[in-house]
């Protein structure tokens, strides 16, 4: 929309004569653009002096509608509403300013230099403020909004092992802060591991015998959006472990099809592979647990 902004967006058209009553003469439930559901949202709570309907009503957000609302001659195209409408004149940044005018605090603190803002995303690209239940704020529905653009993650959440995203019990904002964060991947918490420990605090430690990559970054072994392998692992043991462990003896042995049940049925390959014995891969607090098996 930013790129497509047209017209003189600095000029302020006049406001309507009667505010929302002018708008609602056309935009009732039978119109092409019904709007009345806004009256079941926080934006139309007149008792709160900061909501649009305690002020400039529809035009608080949509901008002055005097031009858009005036009579047009037969065949004449109706001028667009300045903001948040089809072919709106104002830029995405300017529309966002309207929202931020009231919603600048808290999780929007880092919006200004965020990746979403850099890519010209507008608040209205994700939010449907006329909807009583804005889908992006509903756990079971938010994911669809995000995955519309994040195609790689959509592929991931459909894989055999994933967080409870497909079941509608977890949303993207459980980990990410879409309004901007100073962290990698716009995570809400300061680091990847702190994000994971939010629900998996048992892996936080510190413990006596640490496994170095665990203390560093969970995504060294796990794919958080989904994986073809159990426990969201990037790949299966033993090959996952053999990427970093090649000591003489069983850790270094290349396992092949000869280790399947049709062959020697090796415990170094099948079921949990390395974790059949080294089951404390996230670290052990047992005095004799240095090889992560106690």
């Amino acid at each position: 929309q930013d790129d497509g902004a047209s017209g003189d967006e600095t000029a302020m058209p006049p406001y309507t004569r009667t505010g929302a009553d002018t708008c609602l003469k056309c935009h009732d439930e039978t119109s092409e653009f019904p709007v009345l559901s806004i009256f079941r949202t926080p934006h139309a709570t007149v008792g709160d002096e900061k909501t649009p309907f305690a002020g400039l009503q529809c035009e608080a957000c949509h901008g002055p509608g005097g031009e858009h609302g005036k009579r047009v001659r037969f065949g004449q195209e109706r001028p667009p509403i300045p903001a948040f409408g089809d072919n709106s004149i104002w830029s995405t940044d300017r529309e966002n300013e309207i929202c931020l005018d009231c919603h600048r605090g808290s999780e929007r603190m880092h919006w200004e230099a965020s990746t979403h803002r850099r890519y010209d995303l507008g608040c209205a690209d994700c939010h449907e403020v006329h909807d009583t239940h804005d889908p992006v704020t509903v756990t079971a529905e938010q994911t669809q909004v995000c995955l519309d653009c994040h195609v790689e993650q959509r592929s991931a959440v459909n894989q055999a092992s994933s967080h409870p995203i497909r079941a509608g019990k977890m949303d993207c904002s459980a980990c990410h802060q879409p309004h901007g964060a100073l962290t990698e991947a716009m995570l809400s918490k300061p680091t990847v591991n702190e994000t994971c420990f939010g629900c998996h605090a048992e892996k936080r430690g510190p413990v006596l015998w640490e496994h170095a990559p665990v203390t560093e970054d969970c995504t060294l072994c796990h794919r958080p959006h989904g994986s073809n392998h159990p426990a969201l692992l990037t790949k299966r043991p033993p090959l996952l472990c053999q990427e970093c462990h090649s000591r003489a003896g069983h850790p270094s042995i290349g396992r092949t099809g000869a280790d399947l049940p049709s062959g020697r049925a090796s415990g170094f390959l099948l079921t949990g592979s390395c974790t059949n014995c080294h089951s404390q891969v996230h670290g052990s607090n047992h005095p004799s647990g240095s090889n992560l098996s106690r």
Binding site: Y15, A167, R204, V207, T271, S279, G289
Partner: protein, 685 residues
């Protein structure tokens, strides 16, 4: 843009005749109740995972919401979903909009892991941390020698339930002050599978999970149009109600007293953190900045278990009874975006992330798997320090053409690892173009180069590590990432998106360990609004993840190489039609198919038999129809069919005694065909 702020115009607008007579403001009580019933055609843990529809039979559909809106912005919202299922949730929130709010919420999440496991251990089904064998158990050198195994196997479900209760409050004071207080308590109960071994002989155990995590967040913020600050506290306290798991050794004795083993469970731990955040943007919109500093402390001091429970081995003297583990974390980030003149914007960032591990180091005599005294080892409290900076510029060359360039550098220092410091440089170029208003194109290319400063020093251990191994998070690496995205709206009722992402990692100095990886994703999306009240969509996505791993048996023996390929394809089509055939009758359909194939090729002397593919195929049909019987009542009929087929050579055909030295649970990879039908009525008031 601030000069154009419409709010600045407020005072000049004459709103004296703005009566809002046509505005249907909501006051008083309203809500809806949804009630009905459904039927699931087949037992399946896999199908019911996270949703609670794991059992064949009828289930209730029950939920609803209640709203109150007062004249003075007072409000109350009550909602509840899936009340008849293990995936139930409820929330109540009330307050006065713009002033304060209070909430209480509850959520339950069932996690069904396996319904076909079998174990010989008593206590597994009751959640005991003391697992014992039947009195007539015959211990064997191998699982085949355990002659009473078949008769001792009992079914056990592997499942967990996670419940969360949260409550909190938020207050807005005046135009600027914000206060928030949130408390959450998670409980996680059930069991999980964990290997328990005696040297190279193991049994897969079903061990209890009984965790409690309490979290507290408190913040105070001051917000103005130009700047804001927030000081916050985060506390997280983990408690494990099981301090250890003990189990009988099902194998024949190797050393005196090795009848039982005992392993630790995740210890109680705590995390306290203070966070200070702020943002500032001067007049004119040419600069915006924000920053956050977080200082935290992780602590753990659970009493140590004895080094062994083997009565024949006297427990070695230990210098300490608990770890006194402590890690201080410091994370600081700052970012600024400047627009020195209209077409150019520059974003700069600096960050620092430290894990300062203050855990004391000590020597610990290792009693290997409760069987014999091995060496003495000193713990390695891993820490790191990461420092980085980046600069990105976007230049609007033409009204519909923006060029981007960026560069970043990160230095990563680690303790007790093979490489003391790595440096990573990244460069990127990008383009955003809209040659026509209905067509948007985005291209981005990045190159990242990571190099170790100094030598890769292989850790001195016995048996020896292969000196040519390069651990992939420490190894020199070149990563190229290309992404392309096209969105096209050929008409007002159709939009098409095409995307392609390709990442290639080259570990050019590695020949043992991960040597290369690629990740390719393609996607096509179409969404249509062919007529009023009608929507349709279709998508196809394909992902291929490849990894190459090199190895060598026993450091100097046979060389082998492995190639792993995961191919995942998702296809979906669906749509919704409102007021079909008659007013108030809606119909929706969703069809999806996800096909995953995992190929594992290990080349070792060219004679090894191949691995079968890992396969999973998920086909799903969802159909709903909703009929508005009256202004207050809807009827809804849902039908869902899912077919899941999997093949997993890691588990398939592995009976409890298939592996001579691992007593398994006999689990198979899941297959199911589940139909679910549900009929519900929603009454609105």
């Amino acid at each position: 843009q601030d000069d154009d702020d419409p709010a600045a115009e407020d005072e000049t607008v004459d709103t004296s005749s703005w009566r809002c007579r046509l505005c249907p403001f909501e006051t008083g009580w309203s809500g809806s109740i949804t009630a009905g019933g459904g039927y699931v055609s087949e037992d399946s843990f896999e199908f019911g995972d996270y949703t609670g529809l794991e059992e064949e039979g009828a289930y209730p559909i029950l939920g609803g919401e209640l709203r109150y809106r007062g004249e003075n912005a007072g409000y109350l919202d009550l909602s509840a979903d899936n009340l008849g299922l293990e995936s139930r949730s409820a929330r109540i929130e009330g307050g006065r909009q713009g002033s304060y709010r209070l909430y209480l919420e509850y959520d339950s999440l069932p996690h069904y892991i396996a319904d076909d496991a079998q174990t010989v251990f008593y206590g597994a089904r009751t959640g005991s941390s003391n697992l014992t064998l039947p009195s007539d158990w015959v211990r064997g050198d191998t699982t085949a020698d355990m002659t009473t195994l078949d008769g001792s196997l009992r079914d056990v479900d592997i499942e967990q339930e996670r419940e969360a209760i949260g409550l909190g409050a938020g207050i807005k004071q005046g135009d600027n002050w914000r206060y928030n207080l949130d408390f959450r308590r998670f409980t996680q109960e059930g069991n999980r599978v964990q290997g328990g071994n005696f040297l190279l002989r193991s049994a897969l155990l079903v061990v209890p999970v009984d965790y409690v995590t309490e979290q507290m967040d408190a913040s105070v913020g001051y917000v103005t149009d130009r700047w804001q600050m927030e000081l916050a506290y985060h506390g997280s306290f983990f408690t494990n109600n099981d301090e250890s798991v003990s189990w009988d050794n099902p194998y024949a004795s190797v050393t005196d007293g090795d009848d039982r083993g005992r392993m630790s469970t995740p210890p109680d731990n705590s995390f306290n953190q203070l966070l200070l955040s702020g943002a500032w943007r001067p007049e004119g919109g040419w600069l915006s900045t924000s920053a956050r500093v977080a200082y935290g402390r992780m602590e753990q001091n659970e009493d140590f278990l004895p080094a062994t429970i083997n009565p024949a081995i006297s427990s070695p003297a230990s210098s300490r009874d608990s770890l006194e583990g402590r890690v201080d974390t410091l994370t600081a980030n700052a970012r600024a975006r400047a627009v020195p003149w209209k077409p150019l914007s520059i974003t700069g960032e600096v960050y620092y992330d430290e894990r300062d591990n203050r855990t004391p180091r000590d020597k610990y005599v290792q009693i290997m798997t409760d069987q014999y005294i091995a060496d003495t080892r000193t713990n390695k409290p891993y820490g790191f320090e990461k420092t980085g900076a980046s600069l990105d510029a976007d230049y609007r060359l033409l009204r519909r053409l923006t060029l981007s360039a960026g560069a970043s550098r990160e230095d990563y220092e680690r303790t007790f690892q093979e490489v003391e410091r790595t440096r990573t440089d990244e460069y990127s170029l990008g383009l955003r173009a809209g040659p026509w208003a209905n067509l948007q194109l985005r291209l981005r290319q990045t190159r990242e180069e990571r190099e170790a400063a100094g030598d890769y020093e292989t850790l001195e251990v016995m048996p020896a590590e292969n000196p040519r191994l390069r651990k992939y998070h420490l190894a020199d690496r070149v990563r190229d990432v290309t992404s392309a995205n096209l969105s096209w709206s050929p008409s007002a009722w159709a939009s098409i998106g095409v995307s392609a992402d390709y990442a290639e990692d080259d570990y050019e100095e590695s020949d043992i360990g991960l040597t290369g990886a690629t990740d390719m994703t393609y996607g096509l999306d179409v969404s249509l609004v062919p007529a009023e009240g009608m929507t349709a969509y279709a998508f196809v996505s394909q992902q291929r993840i490849e990894s190459d791993i090199g190895g060598r048996d026993n450091v100097s023996g046979a060389v082998w190489s492995a190639e792993l390929n995961d191919n995942i394809r998702s296809v979906g089509i669906g749509g919704e039609v409102r007021d079909i055939l008659r007013d108030g009758l809606d119909l929706g359909l969703d069809l999806t198919y996800t096909r995953s194939r995992g190929e594992t090729d290990v080349d070792k002397r060219g004679i090894a038999p191949p691995f079968p593919d890992l396969k999973s195929d998920l086909r799903s049909i969802g159909l709903f129809t909703r009929y508005e019987v009256s202004e207050t009542t809807d009827l809804r009929l849902d039908y869902r069919f899912e077919q899941y087929r999997t093949e997993d050579f890691y588990y398939d055909e592995v009976e409890p005694d298939t592996i001579s030295n691992v007593l398994t649970l006999g689990r198979e990879s899941p297959d199911y065909d589940v139909h679910v039908i549900g009929l519900s009525a929603r009454y609105r008031f």
